[in-house]
């Protein structure tokens, strides 16, 4: 642990720190950011909480609020105190700008040092930072963390994959930081170049900035001979360093001394029970440049109940499993199609291609999930196919908490499309 005084503090102490920091940040934004002054006044709430139970009264912030206050309207520090900006482009193309004070940059370095340390890195390591440097937070975020940790930091940035392999080999890189998909490209390139990655000192990777699956993790760990650690962050909240897996590889510890996490129902915006899926909402507790109050990430995840054997007090969020925009409501239960995909990638014998058919029988919604059988299946084994069908059904049901039907369909029979796959066919209106 890089900062055990924080990462392994008691829950009571942590919550006291959260309340104190939250009140400071609420005062800060209420006094300095016109958007929040208006938002609190309109909601008729004072920018103060007595306990964490009061957080539910506070107004939300969404991506559009950052867009409409572009570029500097959400900053809560005087321009002269801002030392860096990063930006992210949304899917709509309009970028949003985030600003950092020197304190923010310092905290960020600590948080990224924690992240690297939770992947097992120390000052003795050589960290190859293959995230892009620039307006994107990935490259510089990891860079400062690796330096803070005292590791040798290689600011190679993204791209030029052959050179990456060369450096990996010559510089004795032990920790690789990049997107999970890029790590696989790197592995392929190494193979083409005749470089055996398993013979190199490389032993860990911190991967994030895009969704990936357990299947992909297994592939990466095998092809690169590394322990692959999932990291999470978004520029509106900080950048990388918001949450990270530990060596248990079971959920990402949220740095709760800097960020308040809530999971809410995307429809009602009410908090859900620990363990249930919903939209992840963050409140920054220490940010000065651009604090956000109850920022709706649109990412779907859940809190993994219970304590982690690693000794960190921070609660764990599960690997992000989709976007709230894709949510379906079935018999009153929120369902995210991406959860189905996640289940399917873990089952041998089926392809991760599926279609959800929503229908209605009387007043009841029916859900049928069509799942493609893998093309290399032994089709002669009827019992095994039936067993496969039962397994898919029970695993999807336990993931979604909704009873469904499963139909195995022929390989490659579900329509592939260039852009967004048509995952859901809603026939409930047709009846």
């Amino acid at each position: 642990m890089f900062q055990p005084q924080w990462e392994a503090m008691s829950r009571e102490k942590l919550e006291a720190v959260q309340v104190e920091r939250l009140n400071a940040v609420l005062t800060r934004v209420y006094e300095r950011v016109p958007f929040y002054t208006r938002a609190f006044d309109e909601h008729g709430v004072r920018p103060q909480v007595a306990s964490l139970d009061d957080v539910g009264q506070l107004p939300f912030t969404v991506k559009d609020d950052l867009r409409s206050n572009y570029p500097y309207g959400m900053f809560a520090a005087p321009r002269r105190d801002i030392v860096r900006v990063h930006a992210s482009s949304g899917t709509t193309g309009q970028i949003t700008v985030v600003g950092y004070t020197q304190t923010d940059i310092d905290n960020w370095a600590d948080l990224m040092a924690r992240t690297l340390a939770s992947a097992g890195a120390t000052a003795d390591d050589v960290v190859q930072v293959a995230y892009g440097y620039g307006l994107f937070t990935g490259g510089l975020g990891v860079h400062y963390g690796a330096e803070r940790l005292g590791a040798i930091t290689i600011p190679i940035s993204g791209g030029n994959t052959k050179r990456q392999v060369q450096v990996l080999q010559d510089f004795g890189t032990t920790v690789l930081a990049c997107t999970p998909s890029y790590s696989l490209l790197l592995a392929e390139t190494a193979e083409e170049m005749g470089v055996d990655l398993s013979s190199l000192p490389l032993r860990a990777g911190v991967f994030g900035a895009e969704p990936w699956s357990e299947n992909m993790r297994a592939q990466i760990e095998q092809k690169l001979s590394v322990t692959a650690i999932d990291i999470y962050g978004l520029s509106e909240v900080l950048g990388p360093g918001v949450a990270s897996e530990c060596s248990e590889q079971h959920g990402l510890h949220v740095n709760e001394d800097h960020f308040l996490i809530e999971i809410v129902d995307p429809e009602t915006l009410q908090p859900v029970e620990d363990g249930e899926y919903g939209e992840v909402v963050f409140t920054t507790l220490t940010k000065e440049g651009i604090p956000v109050i109850r920022y709706r990430t649109r990412d779907i995840s859940r809190i993994i109940p219970g304590e982690c054997p690693c000794g960190r007090v921070f609660r764990r969020m599960e690997r992000v499993s989709g976007r709230s925009d894709d949510m379906l409501i079935i018999r009153g239960v929120n369902v995210f199609p991406s959860q189905i995909e996640q289940v399917l990638t873990g089952i041998e014998g089926v392809a991760p291609h599926y279609q959800v058919i929503l229908g209605r029988k009387g007043s009841m919604d029916t859900v049928d999930v069509h799942v493609e059988v893998a093309a290399d299946t032994e089709f002669d084994e009827i019992r095994e196919l039936e067993e496969l069908q039962r397994r898919v059904r029970s695993e999807i049901q336990s993931a979604l908490a909704v009873s469904i039907g499963v139909r195995l369909v022929e390989p490659r029979s579900i329509e592939r499309s260039e852009g967004k796959a048509r995952r859901v066919v809603d026939q409930r209106g047709d009846a």
């Binding site: 290399d376 032994e378 089709f379 002669d380 196919l385 139909r407 195995l408 022929e410 390989p411």
Partner: protein, 145 residues
């Protein structure tokens, strides 16, 4: 061993016809066909000429296909013919996964197709006096190329 195609079919009208038409269009002749059905899907077992070519052709048309090794045994066409075969296998401790049979027109013999997973069924069958058919006895094998 005989190469048998196992084709996965959704329970959908016309799908079996499409599979047969695909083979027909490729000039592949079928010797035997057996449909095994469940509530949700079916598996069609086919013995035909050039089974590996047939697999490629069907896959290109979008079907899920695998090639399975089965035994084909000739028995006289009389009551109890198949029972005798099964008893011989049972005595040897061999378990039959499934069986079906068809008649060769003009010959006084039935062909029994048997799926047996373990052991060497060939020895047992031949020791019991049965003729175990070779691929070329039943269909035109794939080109060796």
């Amino acid at each position: 061993m005989i190469e048998q195609l196992s084709v996965f079919l959704e329970n959908q009208p016309g799908r079996l016809a499409q599979a047969c038409r695909t083979l027909g269009n490729a000039g592949i002749n079928m010797r035997a066909l057996m449909v095994a059905d469940t509530e949700q899907f079916g598996v069609v077992r086919v013995i035909c000429d050039r089974p590996n070519t047939a697999k490629t052709v069907l896959e290109a048309a979008g079907f899920g296909v695998s090639v399975t090794g089965v035994y084909a045994v000739e028995t006289p066409d009389r009551p109890g013919g198949l029972a005798d075969v099964l008893e011989a296998l049972g005595t040897a401790g061999l378990n039959v996964e499934y069986a079906y049979c068809f008649l060769e027109p003009g010959e006084n013999a039935a062909v029994n197709v048997l799926k047996i997973d373990e052991g060497d069924a060939r020895d047992v069958l031949e020791a019991a006096g049965y003729r175990v058919l070779r691929p070329e006895d039943l269909y035109e094998p794939d080109d060796p190329s």
